[in-house]
Symmetry: C2
Subunit: 184 residues, 2 copies
DNA sequence: GCCATAAAGCTAATGTGATTAGCCGTGTTC
DNA sequence: GAACACGGCTAATCACATTAGCTTTATGGC
């Protein structure tokens, strides 16, 4: 071994710092190296390239979301659980808007793995409705799409009037819950 | 005047060609210039810079979506209209996945203007339910979030099993429609 | 038909970032 | 105490975006 120094995790930490401050577009290896007090090429000792750093960052973020959502759902079930999931997910996005924009959806192994944790939470929740596996998968996809769509649009500032967004989201939660109960 | 040659619109055409073939990340001024048979700096006679080109491209795409959705909704109302909107929107995304990924959500005037056309179609549709203005806005936001979320996730390949996606989307349509009818 | 002009194109140059190659010091380990 | 592997560094290359300034060519007015 050699000096203690930088680790891959520490590089990701710095990357998140930059993203939080200036958005995903500002994530460059130069910027990370500057923050870490190191020359740019030195980073290649810890990450393969910029693409890998982005993927590590994305996975870390997805894991954070899964953590928060998993925590929120503890001790709740059915409608209460759905509401808790949706609230926690959106709150994460609002607390870290730039991080949310840095999420990669493209099938990228690391993020997919973290995303699977999140999906499993949703599936477990839907089993509380007595749903069959297949039905739970469809329901989970719908919930994911709705929440993610709202979070993306809100964090990117795509909605016009900011003041009533809580109300809109309440409606979305309501629609999801009632939609799940309604017979096909 | 000078030679006929390139126009801003033609540059956007070429940009869309590149996006369709290789995705939004491949959209560089060099690539556009190469395709257009022109030196890179010549493009600056037609677009201010790469950022503006992206914004023009995004606006064009959003307008295409609004066109398709607007067409789909003709002659329909209420539930039928909602279903038609959702189907047309997703179909556009599936026909042009790379274009869908090239959409910019950030408050960017040109895209916002085109997006407003789309929102107005949704609002008009919700009035068919006899909704008040405020309720229609919340409903439109929810519909937009759900459809956009599904389209983003599907076009980026974020969903696992491709074969049942039609079924999942049917469920989403069902959830939206029943959710809209259910009382708060 | 001839010229001024403005549009549209071009070459050259600069700056930023990513990435690679190859060198150097420093702990760790035997 | 010497070999080694790790982590950092400098130098160099490449791809792009962007700017400056020159050249060419329609075209409208004469």
């Amino acid at each position: 071994m050699a000096r203690a120094a930088l680790t891959t995790d520490a590089v990701v930490d710095v990357a998140l710092l930059i993203i939080d401050e200036k958005g995903p577009a500002a994530l460059t290896l130069s910027a990370v190296a500057g923050r870490a007090g190191v020359a740019t090429p030195s980073l290649y000792k810890h990450v393969r390239n910029l693409a890998e750093l982005r993927s590590l960052v994305s996975a870390r973020i997805m894991n954070e979301i899964a953590d928060q959502v998993g925590e929120a759902v503890l001790g709740r079930s059915a409608d209460e659980a759905i509401r808790a999931v949706m609230m926690a997910w959106r709150h994460y996005a609002l607390r870290h808007p730039h991080r949310y924009s840095a999420l990669i959806q493209t099938p990228e192994p690391r993020t997919v793995e973290a995303g699977t944790r999140l999906i499993n939470i949703l599936l477990a929740t839907f089993r509380a409705y007595g749903m069959a596996d297949s039905a739970a998968i469809h329901a989970a996809r719908c919930l994911r799409a709705a929440v993610h769509g709202f979070a993306v649009l809100e964090t990117e500032g795509a909605f016009g009037l900011p003041e009533k967004l809580d109300e809109s989201y309440d409606l979305l939660i309501h629609m999801m819950i009632t939609g799940l109960h309604a017979p096909r």
